[in-house]
Symmetry: C2
Subunit: 499 residues, 2 copies
């Protein structure tokens, strides 16, 4: 695989100088156009030690308008990073639309290091590479441009440079907190590298091999490759074809064929007032205890609330929260995204709110908006909401893999109950603000929403993250049901029995 | 001071119930109006242990629309927080306009704890309290509403409750990582508390004493106080008077009286090409070494660039950066604020970009925009830019107190040199984008800007943070001058001699 980068390619000083002016002019123009077009560019810088990756990036910074370029190394994970799913630290470094992020090692550095140190085997590495592939695909589908450079040196040149670097007390190689690959480790390093490149070299996110023996060849090739990738992409834009199609089966028209998971929810469930008070108090006490225990054991908790308008989310969340110490939780209402949020993949705004270990975050509406309101109202394109199921499942898997306790609730009521509640709200002074014209409009699309909810529940109820469909015609039943479920999940995660 | 909270005030169950419906309705309405008006509300919760601060906040969460309320405790500082000036952790928790933040202890917690532990003496505490006063004043002047609650218990009640709490294995008092005040420590605690309250109880940001023996009295008083504060503030808004006036002396009209600090900059300074190359290389090498050393010794560095349009900021920054490893620095161009940034005090957007220990952040334009372009173009009100000098000085002092190396450069050129550069830019293809109609307009206001620059330099050149006025008619001289200065500052901070 690396033979193509051991050909002895070089560029003379004169040729280098001759190419520079046009390259710089075009690079600056391409960067400006990319900014205007809102194209996010991710440049991954990887390769063998001693190839001069830092030099190349300094060169790019000199050629480009530095003000639009952010460079990130992933040396030490801070404790804020360690206390969240491991992809959080990458999400927070992604470029916004129109920006360029240069990532040293990116998500490849740690995957390779762990394999080399024997902390993982090839199978585990492959699994991680599949996750990486999914991650990059998700971002390219969202419009990002990936340019991944692999800097290579032939074995002798490598070994010569590493010896020189090791001697020079001023070289980065001695200063930076990276763990350099030992010279004897190189064959294994190349074997792992080949596997990594092979598994993640996709048409949408290709690797570029850069022979790095000659610095001028190296830098010029990088500059030209970056330029070509951006220019090609800008030209193609607008001409993209949506390859997605509906994966929902087409149903017969008979009403009996339209049954959804929601129809199986037993809306007759209810609780007497006395029984309600008793149970509510019981589970609130239990929840207080469990959330403190989760705090001590550093387990975070993410609670997602979706449901029909007037389904009782607010009241349920209030009862849930009143059992938890106010210092341990945050409630996040999901409203219109800010402009910083709009400049990223739609999941970015949720990633940035993921709780640290030991804390609880309640999402009052959530990332499921993508496949509910955004789908139904046409705010997301077909391609966007159709791929969202898989993106969401991967996101939630990362939460669960980190140890986060995740629970998702759909508060279900009948259309008749909704109508009654809408009317009641209009009659109570301090509830009137809760009902808007939009609520009435949404109500007219009940069946469309119902189909979307059905598909959402079917596609995103996974072994690691099931939906809880809560019968909520009776508010008392719903509240107790939710708090009890949260207790059960927490208790199970903490290894306690719940009765 | 605390006698007023030991009167035995109480509220019966019936009276409590009777007051609730109206209170809730009005609180919700006030919250909605505050959101619409963009009023940021900061609720500080402090007081003696055992007074039930957590209970009160849970009650507020039940009465208010939780979705607009963020609660924060400041238990453990994360390493991302420790590696920045200590106020960073508070800045990141401030509410945006229209939001309510409930802060347990807030900036008072640590100040009190350190005094009680004997880490500080009364003088150091007073100094910290003065900083707190400035901070709160800055935010109230920016429109924030502060409501600071002090929860008090008489000595016997206190001691009784603490004993009970210490026995109960489920109480927060045992679970949370706060260090509770020991019972024997109480007289000293109250002495320190009195000092803290006295020094920070201003007309704009008053403390409210809340007698906490009776829970119903306590909660009702808190709810009513919060309501009254928000309602009063919303009514008053729009009727505020600007008490600021120009503190710049009024000058005689003779031209000889108009001399500014910029006129003392020797614009004839220049470097020959050979000498330039030699010195540039020398200082770049030195800078490479020093920034790695600063990384190892965990010293951060903030470099601020201001100057005339076409003054050569971009080229200077590029030469500076090419000497520093790309993994150590970030360049931040200061353009229009995002909507999240606009929803906070103008310094918030700079606070969020403060580098971690060991890293370098370059601001290409900066917080000084407040007293330059925003002043001259009228984007900031007179009151806003006039108070900005002091706000900036305090901000920079916090950076320097943390150990950050700070350097500020004004790149100075003559109007004639600017004209020549504007024309040259219009003639070079890859520079044409750098010149806009706005640049020509700004040029017409040269004298107004000059006066603003003069006042900025005079008011913000402090013993801990001096301005460097760089003669930049000769680009070569300017570049070397800047890099040399950065080397000197870094070397001095690291205890090295620079020649």
């Amino acid at each position: 695989m690396f033979e193509g980068a051991e050909l002895g390619r070089k560029v003379s000083k004169e040729d280098f100088k001759a190419e520079i002016p046009e390259l710089r002019t075009r690079l600056l123009a391409a960067q400006r156009r990319a900014r205007a077009a809102g194209l996010p560019v991710v440049v991954v810088v990887a390769g063998v030690d001693g190839a001069g990756k830092g030099e190349v990036v300094n060169r790019l910074n000199a050629w480009l308008d530095t003000r639009g370029v952010q460079v990130h190394a992933f040396w030490d994970a801070t404790d804020e990073e360690c206390q969240r799913p491991c992809w959080w630290r990458f999400w927070r470094r992604l470029p916004k639309r129109g920006g360029i992020a240069v990532l040293f090692g990116a998500w490849y550095g740690e995957a390779m290091r762990e394999r080399l140190d024997g902390k993982t085997d090839d199978a585990a590495l492959d699994a991680e590479l599949a996750r990486i592939g999914n991650f990059e695909r998700m971002l390219t589908e969202d419009g990002a441009l990936f340019i991944k450079f692999w800097f290579h040196l032939p074995a002798e040149e490598q070994s010569r440079r590493l010896k020189t670097l090791a001697k020079d007390p001023k070289s980065r190689w001695r200063m930076a907190p990276d763990t350099p690959v030992e010279i004897g480790e190189y064959p294994e390093f190349l074997r792992v590298a080949e596997r990594v490149i092979r598994e993640t070299d996709s048409g949408q996110s290709p690797w570029y091999f850069i022979e790095s023996t000659d610095r001028r060849y190296r830098d010029l090739t990088v500059g030209r490759t970056l330029l070509a990738a951006i220019e090609e992409r800008l030209e193609r834009d607008g001409a993209e074809i949506d390859h997605s199609y509906s994966h929902a089966p087409h149903l017969p028209e008979a009403e009996s064929a339209q049954v959804t998971v929601l129809d199986h929810v037993d809306l007759a469930r209810a609780l007497e007032k006395q029984e309600y008070k008793h149970r509510l108090e019981h589970y609130q006490d239990r929840l207080r205890e469990l959330t403190w225990r989760a705090y001590r054991e550093k387990r975070s908790c993410v609670l997602v609330f979706e449901g029909w308008d007037a389904g009782g989310k607010g009241g349920t969340i209030r009862r849930l929260m009143s059992a938890i110490d106010a210092r341990l939780y945050r409630v996040l209402p999901v409203a219109a995204p800010t402009d910083e949020e709009r400049a990223h993949h739609y999941l970015w705004r949720f990633w940035r709110q993921i709780p640290r270990d030991g804390r609880v975050t309640v999402f009052d509406r959530s990332w499921y908006g993508r496949v509910l309101v955004e789908r139904v109202e046409g705010f997301a394109s077909d391609a966007e909401w159709r791929r969202a199921y898989q993106e969401i499942n991967e996101f939630e898997q990362q939460l669960v893999d980190h140890g986060t306790v995740l629970a998702k609730f759909w508060l279900h009521i009948s259309p008749e109950e909704q109508l009654a509640r809408f009317k009641a709200r209009e009659e109570t002074a301090y509830k009137r603000h809760k009902i808007t014209a939009e609520d009435w409009r949404n109500r007219e699309k009940w069946d469309t929403y119902k189909a979307a909810v059905n598909e959402m529940v079917v596609r995103t109820s996974t072994e690691f993250s099931e939906w809880t469909l809560v019968p909520a015609n009776d508010k008392r039943y719903a509240r107790v049901d939710v708090i009890r479920t949260v207790c059960e999940r927490l208790a199970a995660a903490l290894g306690e029995d719940e009765d």
